[in-house]
């Protein structure tokens, strides 16, 4: 089939099956509001076209896969490109037993189960391999005890992707296992976590004697670190460069001229220092766009690009500096909050929420390590606990 024929086929299928009026604002965690449509997408093979036919794909090339994605994107239809983006399904496909894979993957592709991530713990943030949540074998199950944090969607999830310690005598990376933990059971207590922004997008998850079937183990027992790397790679690829700007958006003109407009409204556009800062922050925003566009173009040509790793650092700097600049423009007004002071509300929110980007998903400092080591090939720092039995490791 030629590319034109494939594109025509996808277009015809979409016009028969997709109604743009179905479009709703979808959350990325709970069950999908599009389940009936997604079932048709999966049945037609459009969800994972590059997977082999035996597991629901069409055996197409990546280029053909992207073509299908582009047709879906053109009409705003969900469900295509899951072979590239569906973190849950790809992780299960790569590491689940055939039985569990056949049971869970179709549900993940049709969005009929809600998911969450059970990685970080109070004592295992940047150092994720220091997890202390334990999973102990009991017959056909593992019994799980511990505490997880920064979990989005935990209250509505059916499963959590869990890393837990299964061998305390092995070194830290070698005693971790990876599970699909059923969330709707006694012993799992989900509590919203109040953030510095006074919002609660995340939860703490307290796990006391919860059970997970041994069949839900992904990868080998004590081989969970490797499974986690697959999952993290997919997570990073979907995180992209999206970041939230100011909260209300009420005081926020759009486009590259936005900061100029804000300065004009605040009556400080004539201040030469403000003008220099506007140029700098706006330039960083544009440069980040240009970098991303260049990375995509280089990826298309098949050359791997070091730029992919830079978006997070760039975005952190943009958000923190924009918050600083907005605060500087407002002066004393920035001491206020509430609906009557939308500009102050925006500047204050941004100044706090910038940390969502500079700490979340690995701090900027960890990101600099990753860039230094994986992109620039600089050696790692020696890790004193790397080969020690985990039981003897200090953490927390």
């Amino acid at each position: 089939m030629t590319e034109e024929q494939l594109a025509a086929e996808v277009r015809a299928w979409l016009s028969a099956n997709w109604d743009a009026k179905q479009k709703v604002k979808a959350e990325s965690f709970g069950r999908s509001p599009y389940q009936p449509f997604l079932q048709k997408v999966v049945a037609a093979g459009w969800a994972v076209p590059t997977w082999p036919k035996e597991i629901g794909g069409l055996g197409l090339t990546p280029a053909e896969g992207r073509l299908i994605e582009a047709e879906f994107a053109a009409v705003g239809a969900p469900g295509a490109g899951q072979d590239r983006h569906n973190l849950w399904a790809n992780t299960a496909l790569a590491h689940a037993t055939p039985e569990f894979r056949d049971e869970i993957v179709p549900k993940l592709l049709t969005g009929s189960v809600g998911m969450c991530l059970l990685y970080s713990e109070p004592g295992a943030g940047s150092d994720l391999a220091a997890v202390r949540t334990r999973a102990d074998r009991e017959g056909d199950n593992f019994r799980v005890n511990g505490q997880k944090v920064w979990t989005s969607g935990a209250a509505i999830a059916d499963y959590g992707m869990l890393i837990a310690r299964t061998d305390w005598d092995a070194p830290k990376h070698k005693g971790i296992s990876f599970f699909f933990l059923p969330m709707k059971q006694p012993g799992i207590d989900v509590r919203p976590l109040r953030q510095i922004t006074d919002e609660a997008h995340f939860n703490e998850v307290f796990i006391a004697d919860a059970l997970v079937p041994a069949a839900n183990l992904l990868g080998p027992l004590n081989g969970g670190w490797g499974v986690l790397q697959t999952a993290l790679a997919y997570e990073r690829s979907v995180m992209g460069d999206a970041a939230r700007g100011p909260r209300s958006g009420k005081s926020s003109p759009k486009g590259d001229g936005a900061l100029v407009e804000l300065a004009r409204e605040a009556g400080v556009l004539e201040d030469p220092l403000v003008r220099q800062d506007i140029a700098q922050v706006t330039a960083w925003k544009i440069l980040n766009r240009l970098n991303n566009a260049r990375a995509k173009a280089e990826l298309k040509r098949g050359t791997s690009s070091p730029i992919m790793s830079l978006g997070k650092l760039a975005m952190s700097r943009i958000l923190h500096q924009e918050a600083r600049l907005r605060t500087q423009m407002l002066g004393a007004e920035s001491m206020l909050e509430g609906a009557d002071f939308p500009r102050a509300e925006d500047a204050n929110f941004l100044s706090l929420n910038a940390y969502f980007t500079s700490i979340g998903g690995g701090t900027d400092q960890i990101q600099r390590n990753i860039i230094g080591e994986r992109v620039l090939g600089l050696p790692k720092e020696p890790e004193v606990d790397r080969d020690m039995p985990f039981r003897e490791v200090k953490s927390g």
């Binding site: 001229g257 100029v260 003008r275 506007i278 140029a279 330039a283 240009l290 390590n369 230094g372 050696p379």
Partner: protein, 367 residues
């Protein structure tokens, strides 16, 4: 002007340029030019001209490649990476100023084949490269004109066969041509901190000159020429930043202290990650500006301003931090990093400062 090279042709062109430079513009070659202090490697320039580099921005009808701003920018990345001491920026300015003028057919072929070096005098001692800071006055005399005043920081004037001078007339800024050896012209070389840079003060005392531009204000055309030169300069800065960064990361990998590579220390590693962002952003900015000019994009001017200050700042920061990351070895004359620092400091002043370009950028954003 449009990019007439395909992607493959461009890659092939850049590849042969890289090979020529690797062979003919080594660190030793650059240092030899520094010692001579005329900021010019005549043999290298001849070979570059044979490849078409001198005439990159000159249309084919006048003997150039007519490759357009995007290709020019890419070539400048390569020249910047090795700190090539050439009169390319003057050649770019002259090409842009002369294209479309009657004198183009007479002057451009020699510039394109490298046999003529044209120096372009656009600013007075205040060196803002604005119409207001032009320091030369032109007044009619007989059938011609005579120039009075001072042009400052004129690149390659000491090497030039021809001077192109922006001078104030009763009907705006005009463009004038004369020989640097003409009576009433005094070219005095300036001691440049970047010793690969040829730069001079040029004083005019009733020197006879030919007016090349038509009646009326020619400054809009000068501004266009400056924008093309800014894109070329941005390419040089981006290429230089990337190369000095590579040199520094290589050193951080090889240099051992406390029993391990200094690049394994987060204090160094984190600086490296930040500089990667700077140098890659500079590449993106410079290439985008080149493409925007080549395509005649509506916001091309804004892209040029952005590239001008982003690349200047990136080159300055990357070179400065590179010395710090090297430690003591980069405080010595024999280490090459300071050569990049010198170039970065000079480049950051040419054709308008980063602060001036930021101000222009804000105006272009609507401020």
């Amino acid at each position: 002007m449009r990019n007439r090279l395909s992607t493959e042709e461009l890659e092939a062109f850049l590849d042969s340029l890289r090979r020529l430079l690797a062979d003919r513009c080594t660190e030793a070659d650059v240092r030899r030019v520094m010692e001579s202090r005329d900021g010019h490697d005549a043999a290298l320039w001849k070979q570059l001209a044979e490849m078409g580099v001198a005439g990159l921005a000159i249309e084919p009808e006048h003997g150039g490649l007519g490759a357009g701003p995007a290709v020019l920018e890419r070539a400048m990345e390569e020249l910047g990476a090795v700190l090539a001491p050439t009169p390319i920026l003057s050649s770019v300015l002259a090409a842009s100023l002369l294209e479309g003028l009657e004198a183009a057919g007479r002057l451009l072929p020699g510039i394109a084949d490298g046999s003529t070096i044209a120096a372009v005098a656009l600013t007075g001692p205040k060196a803002k490269w604005t119409a207001e800071t032009v320091g030369v006055e032109a007044s009619p005399r007989g059938n011609g004109w005579q120039l009075e005043g001072r042009a400052a920081f004129v690149l390659h004037a000491g090497l030039a066969d021809v001077l192109l001078v922006a001078a104030r007339t009763a009907d705006g800024i005009g463009l004038f041509e004369l020989s640097p050896k003409a009576e009433g012209v005094a070219v005095s070389a300036l001691p440049a901190f970047d010793r690969t840079l040829s730069m001079a003060d040029v004083r005019f005392a009733g020197a006879d000159a030919v007016r090349l531009s038509p009646a009326g204000d020619f400054w809009p055309e000068v501004e266009q020429a400056l924008d093309l030169a800014r894109v070329a300069l941005a390419g040089e800065q981006a290429g230089g930043a990337r190369r000095v960064f590579e040199i520094t990361v290589d050193y951080a990998r090889e240099r051992h202290q406390f029993g391990r590579s200094i690049g394994s220390f987060q204090a160094i590693k984190h600086m490296a990650a930040d500089l990667l962002l700077e140098s890659e952003s500079a590449i993106s900015a410079a290439r985008h500006a080149g493409t925007a000019l080549a395509e005649g994009a509506e916001d091309a001017g804004q892209s040029v301003s952005l590239a001008a200050f982003a690349c200047a700042d990136a080159f300055s920061r990357v070179t400065a931090d590179s010395i710090q990351m090297h430690g003591g070895i980069a405080f010595t004359w024999v280490n090459p990093v300071h050569l990049y620092l010198r170039r970065a400091r000079a480049d950051a002043q040419l054709f308008g400062t980063p602060a001036a370009m930021r101000e222009r950028f804000v105006q272009q954003l609507g401020g």
